[in-house]
């Protein structure tokens, strides 16, 4: 007999798997984006189930609210004729599908046979619920992980500059060839 948490997990898992498959099989990327949105939402639900509300909110704000919108935006900007969107699975796709499936099975087997740390950390679910996952994450993020946090901001800055440089239309005066 499954209890309420497990029932919710099974629902989220089923939706995630089904819509992941939908995402990679759509011909039209707009439908793929919509399916991926459903996946992200259910992953967020899963995070709430696993006591990580802050990560769930982050998932929706950043993944669904920013990254996926960017995909849609680029899709609109490209204005690819609808017929040209399709085409295209690789001609040897069954081989690759098999490779991917094998990878998944291997990971599952590997994890099933692994032993995980038995020494629990300082944040059992009750404590997290008590102080709130936001505060718990903040405490660790700004003490133990302060240096990686700063590095990540640099990564974002580089990505920002890179995106601007790549998409800017250079004029010859700015050193571009024939305005590209």
């Amino acid at each position: 007999m499954v209890n309420l948490d497990q029932a919710f997990f099974l629902y989220f898992a089923a939706m995630i798997v089904v819509f992941s498959i939908v995402t990679i099989t759509r011909k039209n990327p707009v439908y793929a984006v919509m399916a991926l949105l459903v996946v992200f939402f259910h992953v967020a639900g899963l995070y709430v189930l696993l006591n990580a509300e802050f990560i769930a909110a982050l998932q929706v704000v950043v993944y669904a609210g920013a990254i996926l919108v960017l995909y849609l935006f680029v899709l609109m900007l490209l204005s690819v004729p609808r017929e040209a969107l399709g085409a295209a699975v690789h001609r040897r796709w069954p081989v690759y599908a098999l490779v991917g499936g094998a990878a998944a099975v291997e990971i599952a087997l590997l994890l099933a046979r692994s032993k995980f740390a038995q020494r629990p950390g300082p944040y059992p679910p009750d404590v997290v619920r008590e102080v709130g996952s936001t505060q718990a994450i903040g405490t660790v993020l700004f003490t133990e992980f302060l240096y990686p946090f700063e590095v990540i901001s640099l990564v974002l800055l580089v990505a920002m500059i890179g995106a601007i440089v790549l998409t800017k239309k250079w004029t010859p005066a700015q050193g571009g060839e024939e305005g590209r």
Partner: protein, 394 residues
């Protein structure tokens, strides 16, 4: 048999009473209020422009929203031949559903017995007809907390939901397969994304003062100190201006600039599908107004004047007025919290409409300039200064 089903029944009744009933009430109240807001808007703008506004249907034209609703419901449902049917049909839902979901975390007032209604319901036994084991009424809480769900990440949740509003707009623009709709959709999405950042940064100042992401806790924090508009006037301005831009309202209503791109992303929509976009826009206006009241004007807290003798600067000069101020404070206290909350929201909605009747529309480059080069740096500066003050004082 009974032993098996009875606990399931109890759980279902508990979920119904504590989740579905509040959600149902809030959702319907919001949709009806949204419809009524269209009437208020037309009436207010009418008076500003020295016209009577709608006055034909019902007394003072009060039944106008009903007439509009009937008209929209009975209109022919047109789907353009070249449109992408699925995307075209689903886009209005993408735009309305996140707005309604956002209402789940808005607190409307103190826990209340609703004038004794809840204790009466708790004691209700169905006049003896319902067997005690199957009676769901004792599950009714003693006092109703006037919020559907007090999430401890409430502010982030609202930001997440408002971020999703871009989908309905882009998908509607793309699905219509019309150049005006697509241009309107792109403009609008760019605008929503740009101003969301400024809005998020403006809220951070308040969060630093309150030390919590829960909207209920933010109001409680203001109860024990002061309304945050006093500490965050700049944050408030950035938040409200970004909020207007975020909801695509005048003077930032470029996505639906009639004179340039017909009706923007909903050019091809008619009937109930159009009404969905309309309701989403008005629902989002109420959300921004409610957020502004909660974050900066103390939510459901009544206005309290400072007692003159406790203010060092003017203390002795006005000491005689203490009694009068106390009496006024007492009278303000007597007004129920929910009335305070609703009137604060009403005030911001009026400002929304007032702005629409007053300001001309911005040009697109001005809009982007304002968002990225004015609001964003000011928001960052606001966080920096707030942090500095907290560091020095505390």
């Amino acid at each position: 048999m009974t032993e098996l089903i009875q606990p399931i029944f109890q759980t279902a009744a508990w979920v119904a009473i504590h989740a579905f009933v509040p959600a149902f009430i809030v959702m319907n109240a919001v949709l009806i209020a949204g419809a009524f807001l269209t009437y208020v808007e037309r009436k207010v703008i009418g008076h500003i422009q020295l016209r009577p506004g709608p006055n034909r249907v019902g007394p003072l034209g009060l039944l106008q929203p009903l007439a509009d609703g009937i008209k929209l419901l009975t209109k022919e449902d047109i789907i353009p031949a070249q449109a992408d049917r699925f995307v075209f049909v689903i886009a209005p839902f993408f735009s309305l559903v996140p707005v309604i979901m956002a209402y789940a975390v808005i607190p409307w007032g103190e826990p209340t017995t609703i004038m004794g209604l809840l204790p009466w319901l708790r004691a209700f036994d169905g006049w003896g007809y319902i067997p005690p084991a199957w009676n769901p009424f004792p599950l009714v809480p003693e006092k109703a907390t006037l919020v559907v769900s007090n999430l401890n990440i409430g502010v982030l949740y609202i930001l997440a939901m408002s971020g999703l509003s871009a989908y309905g707009i882009i998908l509607a623009g793309w699905g219509s397969n019309s150049k005006y709709a697509l241009l309107g959709g792109l403009r609008s999405a760019a605008q929503v994304i740009s101003y969301e950042i400024a809005m998020g940064l403006a809220i951070v100042g308040t969060l630093m003062l309150a030390g919590s992401l829960s909207l209920v806790d933010i109001v409680r924090a203001q109860e024990s100190s002061f309304w945050y508009i006093l500490a965050q006037p700049l944050g408030f301005l950035i938040f409200f201006i970004s909020g207007i831009a975020e909801t695509n309202r005048a003077p930032f209503d470029l996505p639906e600039a009639e004179s340039e791109i017909v009706a923007g992303f909903h050019t091809e929509y008619s009937g109930m599908r159009f009404a969905f976009f309309f309701m989403a826009e008005y629902g989002a206006m109420v959300i921004i107004s409610a957020m502004a009241s909660i974050l900066y004007l103390g939510g459901w807290l009544p206005l309290q004047l400072p007692i003159p003798s406790s203010v060092p600067a003017i203390g002795s000069a006005l000491a005689g007025a203490d009694g009068a101020v106390r009496a006024v404070n007492g009278a303000l206290m007597a007004i129920p919290p929910i009335v305070w909350m609703l009137s604060k929201i009403g005030f911001f909605l009026f400002v929304y409409i007032w702005l629409r009747a007053t300001f001309p529309r911005l040009r697109y480059d001005q809009l982007m300039h304002l968002g990225w080069k004015v609001m964003l740096p000011l928001g960052l500066a606001n966080i920096f200064v707030t942090g500095l003050v907290i560091l020095v004082k505390g």
